[in-house]
């Protein structure tokens, strides 16, 4: 019975996360790309500036987790559909789980710990805005 409920949970999750992803993805695109200069205006300073703001940190982390789990569960369904050889299936599902876990951990770390101007780094490795102030 436990397994049965999980399948239903996955189905509901795809819909609920899809609903929130619409808002998150479009906000993400509008804020990043619809500025003066479009996609070319995105540089390290722009990203560093956004990630210095706790609001954007939480926004980006929500988008990261929801999109990754949504995409992973979607790929799990596709693998369940098409792959029968049990070893290949285990390999693909395992690889999927590992890659998602790595991406979630790395992404979350970057979002919350990014320090654009580490104090102990050599000055020539730092972006120009670090010395501006």
């Amino acid at each position: 019975m436990r397994r049965l409920k999980l399948e239903r949970l996955g189905w509901i999750f795809m819909r609920v996360s899809g609903f929130f992803l619409i808002a998150l993805i479009f906000t993400h695109l509008i804020v990043n790309v619809m500025q003066d200069g479009g996609v070319h205006a995105i540089d390290f300073a722009f990203v560093a500036g956004k990630l210095a703001n706790p609001l954007w940190q939480w926004f980006d982390v929500t988008l990261l987790w929801l999109a990754l789990i949504h995409g992973t569960n979607g790929m799990r369904v596709v693998i369940e559909d098409y792959v029968y050889r049990i070893n290949l299936k285990r390999f693909l599902l395992g690889g999927l789980a590992v890659s998602t876990a790595v991406l979630i951990v790395l992404g979350t770390l970057v979002i919350f710990t990014l320090d654009p101007c580490p104090t102990d780094a050599a000055a020539n490795l730092l972006p120009s805005f670090c010395t501006a102030g």
Binding site: L4, K5, E7, R8, G10, W11, I12, E80, D81
Partner: protein, 243 residues
């Protein structure tokens, strides 16, 4: 236009996917030219081939009037009953392709092994289960009857299940027809075992495999809104039955 009372006739090319398990390792396509009338159906074409050209052509049919569910097949890539597909509704400037329905084991020519399909059907307990023993009729309001009217029309032809891409790749999936059969009793006010059927379909190979492609609704020769019935069973598995 021909004379009054005379129906036009023309030559139709059928390309049929043949398979003889005793001699063939792979199915192959074979064409037949058949003289037909616009009032004929694909089933008549198959009869003419079998009776006049090649007696070895094998297919199932019984009623020939769209009620027994024997002759579902893929006609020009779509699941149809041969006995309900009129020649005049096809583009006969091109050949008409006829092959067995997909996703069930091919036995011979247009005949597949229907047992996996019926096994899934049996598994959802498609019969009335009630403890009530009324002396006269077991009453039900018009609205209560209307609730599951659509799914009473199924003739178990398998057109829906074998049009479903999830069923093609994953033969374990219950498939649309079994869910239609379950819907028929889940939403019947006289039945008492809706929850048992919902538990069966709330499983890994149950309703959650459905990806809402609508192939089943498009295929159903009885015009049942199959995809809608499946989504109603999904809702019932989430929120409980609302008859």
């Amino acid at each position: 236009m021909g004379e009054l009372g005379v129906v036009d006739s023309f030559t139709v090319t059928f390309i049929v996917r043949r398979f003889n398990p005793e001699t063939d390792s792979e199915p192959h396509w074979q064409d037949f030219d058949v003289e037909m009338y616009s009032t004929d159906r694909v089933l008549d074409g198959l009869h003419k081939i079998k009776w006049d050209q090649d007696g070895s052509l094998s297919f199932r049919r019984s009623c020939a009037h769209g009620i027994c569910g024997s002759d579902a097949m893929r006609i020009n890539g779509r699941n149809r009953l041969a006995c309900k597909t009129l020649i005049k509704d096809l583009d006969i400037s091109k050949p008409v392709y006829v092959e067995a329905i997909k996703g069930l084991p091919l036995e011979k020519d247009l005949i597949v092994d229907m047992e996996p399909f019926f096994a899934a059907y049996r598994e959802v307990q498609p019969f009335l289960q009630t403890s009530a023993k009324p002396k006269k009729e077991h009453l039900q309001s018009v609205e209560q009857r209307e609730r599951f009217d659509d799914t009473t029309k199924c003739i178990l032809c398998a057109a829906c299940t074998t049009s479903c891409p999830v069923f093609w790749t994953d033969g374990q999936y219950f498939g649309p027809a079994a869910i239609v059969a379950a819907h028929r009793f889940i939403f019947d006010s006289r039945d008492e075992e809706a929850q048992v059927r919902l538990d069966i379909l709330n499983s890994k190979e149950g309703v959650w495999r459905c990806r809402t492609t609508f192939n089943c609704s498009e295929a159903c020769p009885r015009g049942i809104e199959v995809t809608k019935a499946i989504s109603e069973v999904k809702q019932a598995a989430i929120r409980g039955v609302r008859r």
